[in-house]
Assembly symmetry: C2
Homo-oligomer: 173 residues x 2
């Protein structure tokens, strides 16, 4: 798919077919994720690919019961290795670059998923402590996004956007 | 350009031709930016498009003298309207979603730029207070990325990536 078309057609998918998502497809979208830029090329991202039914159920619980998460055949939990980025950049690393690097990777992954006919949804609302417990993350690895991935069960609803005029300024605010 | 090809070929450009970047092209990459997902579709992003020579010079100063910034014909400063996102989501909004939403928009913008033959670079290292002063940003609008944009003067160097094996885990860490 053409890049601009892909960027414009991507939208949040919260309803998935039970069709298997192959290892190869998951690898392809993760390979897109790691092409994102990161501060000083530190690449502080880590990805937990969850297919285990019980782990999926526990992730849904940790995300305040958002049921569509565990219905996806695969869930990718995007994490930042906060130690890596704060070793390089201190507080700005852990509070800003850590989140930006992994967000850019997440967006790449979701665009690649869309390009492959997959649907996904960026879930940011969850109990971080519980997710760390479920995935046995070490203290220095922070989960920043839960992304269920699968083939869309229905045409997703496009959400509205403000016009450029409302959010763009010239030279000054 | 094909999405995956675009994701893989994008890399940081720090050297620009002086060729003009049309208003239309800038609009197209900003239109890609605002197609990013955002928490609750709050769209807390704002963009300052800088072409004024003096403002560009002052932004370079605020970014510790990284000279390539002011050499770009256009600079897009990506900001988060932190009040909007914290009104909706409190502290998690201002410290996490604010940064994720604008990072996803920045990544979309840089991919669209690459698709159009433009080069760009994600600059995260700058004095936020100074940038706010230069762009006359209100207190609740935080600059999170400075992105110089222009036609590349030379073939950018591709940075290396860790292998997937180093950053991907199955079911647990």
């Amino acid at each position: 798919m053409n890049t601009i078309e892909c960027i414009k057609s991507r939208s949040s998918v919260r309803s998935f077919k039970q069709d298997e998502v192959s290892e190869k497809l998951v690898e392809e979208i993760l390979d897109a994720a790691i092409r994102a830029p990161s501060a000083g090329n530190v690449q502080d991202w880590e990805f937990i690919v969850v297919r285990n039914r019980e782990v999926k159920a526990r992730l849904t619980e940790a995300a305040w019961g958002q049921g569509f998460i565990s219905q996806a055949p695969v869930i990718v939990v995007v994490c930042s290795n906060v130690r890596k980025i704060s070793d390089a950049y201190g507080e700005r690393g852990s509070s800003l670059y850590s989140i930006q690097d992994t967000a850019a990777a997440t967006q790449n992954m979701m665009l690649a998923a869309c390009d492959k006919g997959l649907g996904s949804c960026w879930v940011g609302s969850f109990n971080e402590g519980k997710v760390k417990e479920v995935l046995v993350l070490p203290a220095h690895v922070r989960p920043v996004a839960i992304v269920p991935v699968g083939f869309p069960a229905s045409e997703p609803r496009k959400s509205q956007r403000k016009s450029l005029g409302e959010v763009v300024h010239k030279d000054f605010y």
